[in-house]
C-alpha cells in the first residue's frame, strides 16, 4: 500500500463527476419526477371531483324524478276532478233541460186540451141547435129561444 498522486487525481476526478451529476444529471431527473408526482396528484383530485359531481348528479336526478312524479300525480288528480265536475255539470244541465221541456209540453197539452174542449163545446152546441131546429122545425127560432140555447150550451 503506497500513497501517491493517484489520491489527488482521484479527488479531482471525483469532483468532476460530482459536478457533472450535480449540474446535468440530477436536476432534470428530479424535476421530471416532481412534475409527474404533481400530475398524479392532480389526476387523483380530478377523479375525486368527478366522483363527487356524479354523486351530486344522481341526487339531483332522484330529486327531479320524484318531483316530476308528484306533479304528474297532481295533474292526473286535477284532471279527474275536473272531468267529474264536467260530467256532473252536464247532468244537472240535462236534468234542468228535461224539466223545462216537460213543463212546456205539459202546458201545451193543457192549452190544447182546453182549446179542443172549447171547440168541441162549440160544435156540440151547433149540432144541438141544428138537431133541435130540425126536430122542432121552425117552431123555435134562434132569436126567440136564445136563453134556452145558452142554458143548454152551458150544461154541456
Amino acid at each position: 500500500m503506497d500513497i501517491n498522486a493517484t489520491l489527488i487525481a482521484q479527488a479531482i476526478v471525483f469532483t468532476a463527476f460530482v459536478a457533472i451529476c450535480w449540474k446535468f444529471i440530477y436536476p432534470p431527473m428530479l424535476s421530471m419526477m416532481h412534475e409527474r408526482e404533481q400530475r398524479i396528484a392532480e389526476g387523483l383530485e380530478a377523479a375525486k371531483k368527478a366522483d363527487d359531481s356524479l354523486e351530486e348528479a344522481k341526487l339531483m336526478y332522484n330529486k327531479e324524478l320524484s318531483k316530476a312524479k308528484k306533479e304528474a300525480a297532481e295533474i292526473i288528480e286535477k284532471a279527474n276532478s275536473r272531468a267529474s265536475q264536467i260530467v256532473s255539470n252536464a247532468k244537472t244541465k240535462a236534468e234542468e233541460e228535461a224539466e223545462k221541456i216537460m213543463t212546456s209540453a205539459n202546458t201545451t197539452i193543457e192549452s190544447e186540451t182546453n182549446r179542443a174542449k172549447e171547440e168541441l163545446r162549440q160544435q156540440m152546441s151547433d149540432i144541438i141547435i141544428d138537431t133541435t131546429k130540425k126536430i122542432l122545425d121552425e117552431e123555435i127560432s134562434a132569436e126567440k129561444h136564445d136563453d134556452l140555447l145558452k142554458k143548454a150550451a152551458q150544461d154541456l
Binding site: M1, N4, L7, Q10, F14, W22, I25, M29, L30
Partner: protein, 292 residues
C-alpha cells in the same frame, strides 16, 4: 520479470497496481522503477473513470428527453428513480429542513459509483488482469513487458487506498467549505478549540478536536478500502486452491468462491451505502450551528 508461479508471486501479482510515473529517465510504467510521490495507479484511475462514465451514461439515458410525455416510468428509468428516491430519503433524514442542492447529487454519485467499483470485485480475479497482460504483451514492446505476467493490473479501484482516500478527502474539503460558509469562520474555529475543556485549555482542545476532525476522512476512506481489500484477498486465496493438484481441493475452491461471492454482494452494497451515509452525515454536521 516472469518467474516461476508461486503462491507468493500470485498474491503479490494481484495486489500490485499498474503504476506510472516520472523517473530520471522520463515517464515509465516499469514496476521496478523508483518514482516517489508523483506517480499514478493507472489501472485504478482507468477503472474508476470508466465506471464513473458508466454511472453518468446510465443515469443520463434513464432521464426522458425534454418535451417527451412524462408517463409511467419503465425499465432503466425505474431503476434510476429508485436510486434517486433512496438517496433523497437518506439526505432528507439527515438534512431535514436544511436546503442544499449539492448533497443529494453528491450522495447519488458516491453511492452508485462506489457500488460499481465494488462490483468489479465479483469479476473472477484472474479474468481482466490476464486479458490485459496478454493484450499489453501483444501490442507494446517496452522493455519491462516480456511476458503477459509482467503487467500488473488491478481491477477493483476501491481496493486501492488512493482511490478511497481521494474521495474521502474531497468530501472532507467540502465539509470544511460548508463549515466555514454556513457557520462562519469564527464559529468553526470555536468548535475546534473551545471544547471539551472550555477556553482555558485551548491548545489541548485543539489537539483533541483536530484528531477527531482528521480521523473522519481517514476512517471514511480506510473503512471502504479495508473491507474491499480483505474481500479481494479472500477471493485470491480461494482462487489459489485451484492450483493444488488435488481435484477435491479445486471443487471445494469453486464452492467457496460461490459462497464468498454471494456474501460479498452484501459487503459491496453495504460499504457503498455506508460511504454515502457517512458523507451525508459529515456534510450535515457541517451545516449544524448548534452550540455544544
Amino acid at each position: 520479470m516472469a518467474s516461476e508461479l508461486t503462491t507468493d508471486s500470485y498474491i503479490n501479482h494481484h495486489l500490485t497496481n499498474l503504476k506510472c510515473g516520472k523517473t530520471d529517465a522520463g515517464w515509465t510504467c516499469d514496476p521496478y522503477a523508483e518514482m516517489g510521490f508523483w506517480s499514478f495507479h493507472v489501472d485504478s484511475l482507468l477503472w474508476s473513470v470508466i465506471l464513473g462514465c458508466v454511472f453518468l451514461f446510465v443515469f443520463k439515458k434513464a432521464t426522458p428527453k425534454k418535451g417527451s410525455e412524462n408517463l409511467a416510468p419503465k425499465g432503466l428509468q425505474n431503476f434510476a428513480e429508485m436510486c434517486i428516491e433512496f438517496v433523497e430519503d437518506n439526505v432528507q433524514s439527515m438534512f431535514g429542513s436544511i436546503k442544499n442542492t449539492l448533497v443529494a447529487p453528491l450522495a447519488l454519485t458516491v453511492f452508485v459509483w462506489i457500488l460499481l467499483m465494488n462490483l468489479m470485485d465479483l469479476v473472477p480475479v484472474d479474468f481482466i488482469p490476464v486479458l490485459a497482460g496478454h493484450i499489453a504483451a501483444a501490442i507494446t514492446d517496452v522493455s519491462w513487458i516480456k511476458e503477459p505476467d509482467d503487467l500488473y493490473f488491478k481491477v477493483v479501484p476501491t481496493t486501492d487506498p488512493n482511490i478511497t482516500l481521494g474521495m474521502a478527502f474531497a468530501v472532507f474539503i467540502l465539509t470544511i467549505y460548508y463549515s466555514i460558509t454556513v457557520k462562519g469562520i469564527k464559529a468553526f474555529a470555536a468548535e475546534l478549540t473551545l471544547h471539551p475543556f472550555g477556553k482555558y485549555l485551548i491548545p489541548v482542545n485543539f489537539v483533541l478536536e483536530m484528531v477527531n476532525f482528521i480521523a473522519k476522512p481517514i476512517s471514511l476512506g480506510l473503512r471502504l478500502f479495508g473491507n474491499l481489500y480483505a474481500g479481494e484477498m479472500i477471493f485470491i486465496l480461494i482462487a489459489l486452491m485451484l492450483f493444488f493438484s488435488s481435484i477435491w481441493v479445486g471443487v471445494l475452491g469453486f464452492a467457496l468462491h460461490l459462497i464468498w461471492a454471494l456474501f460479498h454482494v452484501l459487503i459491496v452494497a453495504l460499504q457503498a451505502f455506508i460511504f454515502m451515509a457517512l458523507t451525508i452525515a459529515y456534510l450535515a454536521m457541517a451545516h449544524e450551528t448548534e452550540e455544544h
